[in-house]
Symmetry: C2
Subunit: 336 residues, 2 copies
DNA sequence: CTGAAAGCGCTTACAG
DNA sequence: CTGAAAGCGCTTACAG
């Protein structure tokens, strides 16, 4: 392995001079700098990351803690992850992807061993046991997902309350007066998936305000149950003219359910989902939707985290992204 | 930060004794060991990873190089990644997820800086420019995806040739004599996606052997083009009774194409796909398929890589997983 | 503008 | 069974 000592020797200077040439932290004469640069290139020298971390207490690595539940929609996670890793690299950081089931233990282990300069947590729950560990950790943290108590941490999430209200507003303004909301399964709520009830509660409140009927239900998040659930809901509420989906699997299952019942969108039924644009494109979902902005949330979390690591962040921040409807033509006035 | 020196002082022993107690590399008297253990717990000591890496030249981190193409099926990647990260952790390794577009530069940078003990490469192409860099790197590497020249590297992939033959065999044995194969887009092949032609060539060869007609086509991998492509193929080959899919997006788009044409599976058309079981479940794809075994391939790659890192691997290995059809009842005898 | 030296927190021969 | 010391490859005050 080629070390800074090898470079120094070959360039005929001291190790500290090479180090300063690398970091630019003090002036180097042009000749010396050129000599060092050429030696570095010819020897193909790259500083040893471990040694540098030991000397500076900076690893230039962030940890990304992702939790996967067997019953949740794994592919959606990819967009968050890419947002994080891509932005991190742009800012000069590599990303340690941590997927072990015991997030608390992982956080402790990685924090204590000083492998990283900071943490990004995905899939944050209402009462997330990782947060108290994170608050005591020596490194800053940013969350994707709004917990009950965000104190001391940077938080990024879609504004699910505004999303619920917006969906209802949209259908109401088209003339709908009875609509169905399909949420994630009950057990997602029980696990602390606050976005489920945040959207549902806001939708319910807005519906009441506007004087329209909203039937809020949970459905399964995998086949074949989700298909059955959807069919049953349509049957139970034959007068509903609008459908709101806060459940990716339900969105994926809907086309076949509707075609089996010969229901056309938007002629017979207006539909709005809440999922990522990428998801919609991949699975050819023809429904207008509120974009979950996964990659963007991941990017923002990293930016804020890095600002904190580098001491440039003034204060802690809770940033809720306003919902936007991507119009795919799946809503219209209700059938006469 | 609490260091090994703090532990030593509190336990009244030398730093080396604490280190040996940690590693178990030499005998420690029971009393001393107990004392050290209790101090470690009370001080919540974890060795500094950078310092340890510097001293041992072992980071206990592996790099996972994943390439994402805008036109490819990103969600499918998740299963490979989880297979890698989960198995790595079981074996005592953390995973650096590297997604930057220039894989060659990333590999060089990470290898030279000694951040990791080894590499797993995903999405390996027929002529993959990362491979020559990897062969010269100081760390071992394992590939998911069979390149043209696998020398010096461990390779894990689905046996796509056997897959092509198996799919054709299966339909032939049910009585089909004219079938369509839908592959990934042409540009995936051009990028070096050898699995596309490996499956197609083997399917073609087997079809010829058996004396049945095989229409092999590429189709788009996103909507709405893929839907149009499928509809056109069915139109062009009205006598085909079987459909083979080596294109996830086509599989996802097929249900609505078929329902628009009132074609029933398997009564009117037999269908076999090639994708992960997870993908099938999430998107309620009702077609029998050859499982792409993503997580398993990721796991095997890590196991072999770690064996090499730890000097336990005898030789380099090319492991092609035999295809298995998951029967979802989408194939039957052709219509009379 | 440059160099010699201390120090980061570990591990591991060497010595007893 | 245990300790004192060297060394891993960097960075950065300190000194000139």
């Amino acid at each position: 392995m080629v070390t800074i000592g090898d470079v120094a020797k070959a360039a005929g200077v001291s190790r500290s001079t090479v180090s300063y040439a690398l970091s630019g932290k003090r002036p180097i004469s042009p000749e010396v700098r050129d000599k060092i640069d050429s030696v570095i290139r010819s020897l193909n020298f790259t500083p040893n990351a471990g040694a540098r971390a030991l000397a500076t207490s900076q690893t230039h690595v962030i940890a990304l803690l992702a939790q996967f539940y067997a019953d949740e929609f794994a592919p959606a996670m990819m967009q968050y992850i890419l947002g994080v890793t891509d932005r991190a690299r742009d800012l000069g950081y590599d990303t340690l992807l941590v997927t072990e089931p015991d997030g608390v233990a992982a956080l402790r282990r990685i924090s204590n061993s000083r492998m990283v300069d900071g943490f990004v947590l995905l899939n944050v729950a209402e009462h997330d046991s990782r947060l108290e560990v994170l608050r005591k950790a020596g490194q800053p943290g940013a969350l994707v997902g709004l917990p009950g108590d965000p104190r001391g941490l940077d938080v990024f999430d879609l504004d699910f309350e505004a999303t619920g209200a917006l969906m209802v507003d949209h259908l109401h303004s088209l003339g709908h007066r009875e609509i169905i909301l399909v949420s994630q399964p009950q057990h997602v709520v029980e696990r602390g998936g606050a976005y489920v009830w945040r959207l549902a509660d806001a939708a319910r409140a807005r519906a009441e305000e506007l004087g329209i009927r909203l039937h809020a239900h949970h459905s399964a998040s995998s086949q074949p149950e989700v298909g059955t659930d959807l069919a049953r809901l349509l049957e139970t509420h034959p007068d509903a003219t609008g459908l709101l989906l806060n459940n990716e699997a339900a969105a994926a299952a809907l086309p076949s359910v509707l075609s089996a019942r010969s229901l056309r969108v938007p002629e017979d039924l207006s539909v709005i989902g809440r999922y990522s644009d990428d998801f919609a494109r991949t699975f050819s979902l023809p429904y207008s939707s509120v974009d979950s902005a996964a990659a963007e949330l991941g990017r923002r979390a990293v930016e804020q985290l890095v600002a904190h690591i580098q001491g440039e962040a003034d204060a802690r921040v809770v940033e809720l992204t306003p919902p936007k409807i991507l119009d795919r033509g799946s809503t219209a006035a209700p059938p006469a």
